[in-house]
Symmetry: C2
Subunit: 427 residues, 2 copies
């Protein structure tokens, strides 16, 4: 291989600035490591005048993406513009022009996986995307390489910093969801429109990528259950803590049992002695179980300018060291026979419902649950002022999702039940 | 590269059997991944008759190590016999015969690093040793590759399962060290002679390897402070928990501040909200801080037949995918200017001392501490039956190690002080 490597960066936003800053700060380290002359040759953005607070040679800047895509001297293209288009077009063009690609674009990978990977394979170039899941955490490379001797059995990820920050604050301070969300927005930990993070879509996109690398199967988001954290209340968190010794986390779950793969995103009640329960604030953690290694966890900052830049530049270094590496993205032959429908997933459940305090309430509710073969492990009724609706907390033994949803639908229709019954699955 | 890869395994003990079992179980997975025909061609051990409980073709077995070392068809040699000799001789011969090497032999690497690496470099072959630190945890490869864009600033490792198991049991059950050690020995978590684990030597050897990969400097064990867990009592653990909200862990620490590297192994008081405090039982965890990525942690089983085999086979796969990878072991140009002497390390300290209950005791002790510029953050005196010696617990502000050791030496000589004063550093 030639002794100099040229890199082109598309997208000079927050992460892009972090990448420029990383090359500025650790230029010698990177060059010594790969024993090449590595150069960030071109940075392209529509806006090349705003000061990003990082040093950049004005001659490197351009508004024309073809200064990267059509430059035969550029070996690696970093795509950090985000979104579907024109990012997809640019990535495909880069791959088709024989350039390796590094991207943090989880949305794009989750939606256009097959097309992108096909282009990389056809052109015998690599696409790396460590930054797309878990920000700076070494996660995809270890999963794909260090753990390569393993059939992955289970993946549990806390991979959205916004949702985890909100749940952590609610837990530590006993505050309501809306209240903490507002604070998170003020602090810049949540977007003005937080839907994507709090409804689990971001987590789902990342889970798609983890599932490909872990289980060798591409499961589109339409095919699995995705549920956010907006219905979780301080009461739920308090009950989980005091009665169950647990906390509530938004988990991305991918789990293979007898050839059947469960893929799902939802708030989950996690025991406090499980390491995932210690992943707090904006931090991310991914807990994997391999058939040889057993459980492992990787932890770190799942977002942010510099952590994400660390992963992007790490990918560049990996590519420079191995431009001819066989391109494997997860196991080549998947052990997955079917993707299990959510209704067939079996869990233990926590239920919170609100009723008028009158005789026979518990009898009726437990009767409905019993109709669906759902048996109760515990029931707690909260004291309230006379005449006010009463919250009831229940924990069930293992039950099928379809039974639980059918039972809850009937329970919600009872005339003494107020509001919507919430259920949260136990890990 | 040729399409078939032959592997020779030296050492058919516990880990060796795990490696054979991994190849048996996941043969297809491994071959599909690397797109080669990978074969465990030869397994050498002095004892090839004892049944290890794993399936192995008798024709593969041999008692002659040259069936591996001198076989030109063998590409990768796995060394799992342990110890210094003849392991060193065999590894050097393998490297000199142009074979790549995979080993879990931390003792050997820690002692003969320069010689081994020089041989690998001269022969343009690779030596991989993921299994030598943290068993199956993806740790060395992420440190060396995924995090390659970072200058490592700090490494904190819980990397000895035996010591961690003992401290965890002492914490959870309030039991004495000796008592838990005995149980650990009965359960097979501690050796008949546990010195190596409980006195920190095993941790120290692993820290040497982490320090090379993290900071690009080889610091021999004689050059740093290594202290085990034998002096830790349930009283210390209880005080740490109740008064400080902390737990006690045996930490391997390597930390670079202004070009000065601190390298040390000792029991450490760790805040309960630090992720390392959740690394319990026989599990290991390594907490790293990079200048770009910030903090990350890797967690998993640090020992055992299958977890360690996972790392060994993962290394084989890595080598097969990249036989020509530039051989970098940590940063090529170290940022370390000097290795700090232990006496110059500054810590906050917890002290436990036992005195006769008489007037002026605290005054005298605090006077001695004050002579060495050590100021107290808190003092607790435990109630005891009249006439019995009184334990006193103290927490200091930051102080130099040399001042603390000098002060404790004087305190131990006071006629009202009983037994040895114990001090434990705070993280």
């Amino acid at each position: 291989m030639k002794d100099n490597v040229n890199i082109g960066l598309i997208g000079f936003g927050t992460i892009g600035s972090g990448v420029v800053e990383t090359f500025n700060q650790n230029f010698d380290l990177i060059n010594d490591k790969v024993k090449k002359d590595v150069k960030l040759k071109r940075v392209v953005d529509l806006d090349i005048t705003t000061d990003r607070g990082v040093k950049v040679d004005p001659e490197v800047l351009s508004t024309d993406v073809n200064d990267i895509l059509e430059d035969p001297e550029i070996d690696i293209v970093i795509e950090l513009m985000g979104g579907y288009q024109p990012a997809l077009k640019f990535i495909l063009k880069a791959l088709n022009n024989g350039k390796h690609v590094v991207t943090a674009n989880k949305a794009l990978l989750a939606k256009h996986w097959e097309e992108i990977i096909a282009a990389a394979r056809e052109n015998n170039v690599r696409i790396c995307f460590e930054a797309s899941v878990g920000g700076g955490i070494p996660l995809l490379q270890p999963l794909n390489e260090s753990l390569a001797a393993n059939n992955v059995k289970e993946i549990y990820g806390i991979i959205n910093g916004t949702a985890n920050y909100i749940l952590t604050k609610m837990t530590e301070e006993g505050r309501e969801f809306e209240d903490v969300l507002k604070e998170a927005q003020e602090k810049g930990y949540a977007e003005a429109d937080p839907t994507f993070d709090i409804e689990g879509h971001d987590t789902a996109q990342k889970l798609i990528i983890l599932t490909i690398l872990g289980f060798g199967i591409y499961v589109k988001q339409e095919r699995f259950h995705v549920e956010g954290i907006t219905k979780v209340t301080p009461d739920d968190i308090l009950f989980a803590k005091e009665e169950l010794g647990c906390c509530i986390k938004l988990l991305a779950i991918s789990k293979l049992v007898d050839g059947e793969l469960e893929v799902r995103v939802h708030p989950t009640i996690v025991p406090e002695d499980h390491l995932l329960s210690s992943v707090n604030g904006v931090f991310n953690g991914a807990y994997l179980v391999g058939d040889i290694v057993g459980p492992v966890m990787m932890y770190g900052q799942g977002a942010g300018m510099m952590p994400t830049a660390s992963a992007v530049v790490g990918d560049c270094i990996d590519i420079i060291q191995n431009m001819t590496k066989p391109v494997a993205y997860g196991p080549e032959k998947s052990k997955v026979k079917t993707v299990k429908a959510m209704e067939d997933v079996r869990s233990k459940y926590y239920l919170r419902l609100t009723t008028i305090d009158q005789p026979g309430v518990l009898h009726t509710i437990s009767g409905i649950l019993s109709d669906y073969s759902i048996s109760l492990e515990s029931v707690n009724q909260k004291q309230t002022a006379k005449g006010e609706p009463v919250p009831i907390f229940m924990v069930t033994h293992g039950a099928l999702e379809k039974h639980m949803t059918a039972a809850v639908e009937r329970i919600n229709k009872l005339d003494f039940v107020r509001g919507e019954t919430v259920f949260i699955r136990l890990l």
